[in-house]
Every structure is written in structure tokens, then in C-alpha cells.
Homo-oligomer: 134 residues x 2
């Protein structure tokens, strides 16, 4: 059986997120799992780490590829990535879900198109409802 | 305590890799752990999945951030990412280790500079010894 190798990888850094959200690996894990499910992706397993004195990393293994977050609570910064293979699952849906939950003041994103030769870079369409509401 | 938020994220798609390497989650896991250790990163945990009828995903949680691979054995394609925070661990060392083990015919890579405002894109310096030897 052959699958399409086309993939979309959205990389996001957001700023101005509350310390308590970014320093809670358990809450972040539930957000990532919900974000993956909202996008229609299939969650296979999860690993997470709460760092001391602060910070967290969560990696979600999807059947479509990985979803991850790494946080700097003291700077209000989480960096997150969603890379999904195929046309069915749009990583921007998962990203939009995370942005809504994190409520950042600023977001910077890039989208990489992968699996079809040269990796190309596009601006990501950020779901800005959460940002506009601030 | 505060840490530098500067991060380097290298995304790589390589082509022309042997089916048997890409369809062996156990071997890929050992390659990723060795690549992380070669770069001086600290491996905290690993999750991997062998897909049927073929394909594998391995996600390695580092204290410096994630290292991941997702493979399409039937197309000779693995896509892999190494995102490390701080100045100490260079993700291109881990990527170079993986390229040497995978022996691809072609490699496409982009490097994202993250954690310092807008995400910027640079060409990645690929370690091409493995490629040149083919």
C-alpha cells in the first residue's frame, strides 16, 4: 500500500502566555490531545516532561505524525509544531485550538510544505480570534 | 531561573533510503538516541510506533527539545526534525549523524531560527559526506 507523502508542518512561537498554563505539563498534554482530536488526527501515544524549576515539553505521536510543545513559562513563550501527512488532517486546526487555549498576545508562524521535493516555506494562516479578543 | 529562548530547528526530508532501514522502528529509535547523544543532548524518553503495512514514527524527548522521524519506506522517504534550545547543542550534529546512517541519495533541509521573535528561515548546512560517497 502506498500513501501520499505530502505533508504540512506548521511551526509556531507565541508570546505573552500565562506562566501557570506554560508550567503545567498535565494541562498542556490535555490541550494537545484535544487539539489533535479537533483536527481529526488519531492520537497513538503521548510523552511529557515537567521541568524544574519551570518549563514543560509534551510530544504527541499521531498516526499522521507528531504534535509537540516546549515552553518557557518565565518568558511567556511556548513553541509548538504540528506536522501532518496527507490532505485529510489540517495542522492549522490543531494550531488554532492551541492558540485559543493559550491566549497569547503575539504569534509568529511558518508553514513548511514537505514530502514533495524541496521543502518550501509559506506564511501560516493563524486563527486570530483569540488574539483579537485580547 | 531564566534560560535563553533561542532555538534552532532543522527540518529534513531525504530520499532514496533503503526500505528495510525505514521500516524498522527499533533500528530508527537506536539511531535517533545515538544521534541525540552525539550532539550532546540529553535523552529523557522515547516513544515509537511501527505502522502496518509499513512505516514508522519515533519521537525522542530531549531536555533541549524534540527529535523526531516519520518514514515512508515504500517511497524511500524519511522526514526528520531536530529542534534544540540554547547555543550548546547544535541540531545539525544530530541531523548529520542520521544522514550518515540513512545514506540517502538526496536531502532537502530548512533551518528555522526560533524563540527570538519572528521565525526566520535559513538554508541548513547538510553534512554531505554520506551523500558524496554514493
Amino acid at each position: 500500500m502506498e500513501y501520499s507523502t505530502f505533508g504540512r508542518h506548521v511551526a509556531v512561537d507565541t508570546w505573552g502566555v500565562a506562566f501557570d498554563k506554560l508550567n503545567n505539563a498535565e494541562w498542556l498534554q490535555s490541550q494537545l490531545v484535544e487539539a489533535a482530536e479537533a483536527s481529526g488526527a488519531c492520537v497513538l501515544s503521548v510523552q511529557s516532561k515537567q521541568f524544574e524549576p519551570q518549563g514543560a515539553t509534551v510530544l504527541v505521536l499521531l498516526s499522521e505524525s507528531p504534535l509537540s510543545i516546549h515552553t518557557y513559562p518565565e518568558k511567556g513563550l511556548p513553541g509548538f509544531d504540528c506536522y501532518t501527512c496527507g490532505e485529510t488532517v489540517d495542522p492549522q486546526v490543531a494550531i488554532g485550538y492551541l492558540v485559543e487555549g493559550l491566549q497569547p498576545e503575539k504569534a509568529h508562524a511558518k508553514k513548511l510544505i514537505r514530502g514533495v521535493g524541496e521543502i518550501t516555506v509559506a506564511e501560516a494562516e493563524m486563527k486570530t480570534a483569540a488574539l483579537a479578543a485580547k
